[in-house]
């Protein structure tokens, strides 16, 4: 197309000093902007990494638990085969320990020796014997959690080289524990109790089961309320509401509600659900209702955005075919906006999942040692459980707090993955 002279001229144009300078300037601009973006992302990723590393460092110890495995002699002297539940299991445990350390005889020493095992050891032995009464008269081999002090000792959280008076366990106790360890009686398996136990005063026994079940119920209630109500409200506002002053006021207020601090919803729940309607305190039902109040504005906003994003041409197509308004919405607009609504819903629920303040106000930070059996049973939730543990002085709760946060984060990751999965599934089905 271009003759040689044209090419020469254009080459001249491209290589004038001004052109080169301006090109350099543009490239520098591009680089600076790109660099800023990379810097911002690195900062965010770095901080997140730091958080995860520090939580992991603190929390990994809570994912394993020091266990002591002993043979417990269940003599008929201590436990009556006719009524195993009434046996003297404190003495069964003492017998087992004395069998390991026959030299211990004084009451004080026996108490110190006993302190190696968790406080609830006697109930655990009892439950094992009741489950299998044939061991009465023989021995039963059980792995029981070590008490928090010895768990920490085993995890190297207790300084061994300081004077005895500066720690809560004596040199003698350390010696006993080390002897047990030498004999192969001490192990540190994965701490299933963290997930399957409910809360406890003793860190070595405390777990998240109650909090997980409570969270599940509360989020379920929150979803069952905020999802349908949010969609219905959004559809009305987006598709049916006349454009007038009243609609504007409603709209502005919904946007404002989304920005209200969540603790206010807790106060509302306290005043309305507990004090006025007399619903039980600490119940996941009430927690879910409070979270639903909090999530609803967000839900309405994301649903409206999703509805608005459906191209008008689809609405026209449906109406032009003689679809009535509800057919247009239910057959076309809503299915098309579902991926957006679901993503928004899951993000809203994830937000609710991590919410603590409003739940504290309705008493979901109670000390409850069994998972809730229903929506009206008192319970905690993951964030309030973390809050309780963070407040506890025992060393073992420090690691458990971090572990609890990691579990909460794992739930959030799972929910977000679910959001992405659902979104892609539905989008593939257009």
């Amino acid at each position: 197309m271009t003759s040689p002279s044209d090419a020469a001229i254009s080459a001249g144009i491209w290589s004038t000093p001004e052109a080169q300078a301006s090109r350099r300037r543009r490239k520098r601009g591009d680089l600076v902007l790109q660099g800023l973006g990379i810097g911002a992302i690195s900062l965010a990723v770095g901080l997140l990494g730091l958080l995860l590393v520090s939580l992991g460092y603190l929390g990994y110890r809570a994912f394993v638990q020091t266990m002591v495995t002993l043979d417990f002699p269940v003599s008929t002297e201590r436990v009556d085969a006719a009524n195993p539940a009434a046996g003297n299991y404190r003495l069964v445990i003492r017998d087992a320990l004395v069998a390991q350390f026959p030299e211990v005889t004084s009451t004080g020493d026996l108490r110190d020796l006993n302190a190696i095992l968790t406080n609830n050891a006697q109930f655990m032995v009892r439950d094992a014997v009741i489950a299998d009464p044939s061991v009465i008269g023989g021995t039963i081999r059980l792995s029981l959690p070590a008490s928090d002090q010895f768990d920490q000792l085993n995890k190297n959280n207790v300084p061994r080289d300081v004077p005895e008076t500066q720690r809560r366990i004596s040199d003698q106790q350390i010696l006993w524990f080390d002897t047990l360890a030498e004999r192969g009686a001490v192990s540190t398996p994965f701490n299933w109790g963290l997930i399957f136990n409910a809360d406890s005063r003793f860190p070595e026994l405390a777990g998240l089961a109650g909090a997980i079940v409570g969270t599940f119920y509360a989020i379920l209630v929150c979803f069952l309320i905020s999802f349908p109500v949010g969609i219905a409200a959004a559809i009305y506002l987006e598709e049916f509401a006349p454009r007038n002053r009243f609609t504007d006021i409603v709209e502005v207020n919904i946007n404002n509600l989304a920005a209200v601090p969540s603790v206010v919803f807790g106060l509302l729940g306290l005043a309305v659900f507990l004090n006025f309607f007399g619903l039980p305190r600490s119940a996941p039902l009430v927690g879910g209702m409070v979270l639903a109040l909090m999530t609803l504005p967000t839900m309405i906003i994301v649903t409206r955005a999703a509805l608005k994003a459906v191209p008008p041409s689809i609405r026209e197509a449906a109406l032009g075919m003689g679809a009535s308004k509800h057919q247009m919405i239910l057959h076309h607009v809503l299915p098309l906006s579902m991926p957006g609504i679901l993503t928004g819903t899951i993000i809203g629920l994830a937000h609710a999942l991590g919410e603590t303040a409003p739940l504290l106000l309705i008493g979901m930070n109670a000390f409850i040692t069994s998972p809730p059996g229903g929506l009206l049973d008192a319970s905690t939730t993951l964030p309030t459980q973390i809050f309780i543990w963070a407040d506890s002085p025992e060393r073992g709760f420090l690691a458990r707090t971090a572990a609890g946060i990691l579990v909460l984060l794992a739930f959030l990751v799972v929910m977000n993955a679910l959001a992405i999965f659902l979104r892609q599934r539905l989008e593939r089905r257009w």
Binding site: A317, A318, G322, H332, L336
Partner: protein
Amino acid sequence: MVNVIGSRTVNDSTKPTVSISVAAPQDAMPAAREPRIRTDKVNVWYGEKHALFDVTVDIPDRAVMAFIGPSGCGKSTFLRCINRMNDTIDSARVEGSITLDGKDIYDPDLDVVELRARVGMVFQKPNPFPKSIFENVAYGPRIHGLARHKTDVEAIVVSSLKKAGLFEEVKDRLDEPGTGLSGGQQQRLCIARTIAVSPDVILMDEPCSALDPIATARVEELIDELRENYTIIIVTHSMQQAARVSQRTSFFHLGVMVETGPTDQIFTNPKDKRTQDYITGRFG
């Protein structure tokens, strides 16, 4: 074409209103028939803006009527009055009378859903539903209860796709998304979808403006075929298109219907100065 006529007869018998010109010979001159749609002094406002002024036009049965005019002169607005799509615009207000087969379509007793089943619409940008080709066509018959059984739906889908000249191209992939077709195929799918509810009137708002010349030619051919069985109103900004496909033409200018007449007369011997200026390319 036997198929087409067959299905028309069935559909007509299910309609409450008897079509006046059913008995008329297929090859009769358009003007010889009674007009299907009459409009009298139609005015439209969008809020404060007066967009259409006293439009009075008769639209012949089984013929193609073209609305031409410069952009923004109210062609779409007027077209959308005929199936009451303007009802969906909050600010729009329509006055005057429009009758279909003698029945006032703005009568409060009239159900707009039934009206739109009888007056189908094809839009400027092809807008198939993001569903399968089959579902696109089956949707109308389903919501209007035209087909009880699966086999009935299938029969309607196949015959509509055939009438829209699309069947051969898509018969092996009816369950693929309609949005995956080419622009021209999508527009013919939209026409098939409209035909599937066996309307009496088909409104087309610049149906070819988003299509390439070859796809445009196919759609124009299709319009010419459909004219035997449907009353068609087409809005176009292309005078050549109006000349090619229509029998009657109305020229709109600044919200006023300036002149209506047989297409060849409008193009060869316009009566109004503004029409003359427009078709000779002096504005627009």
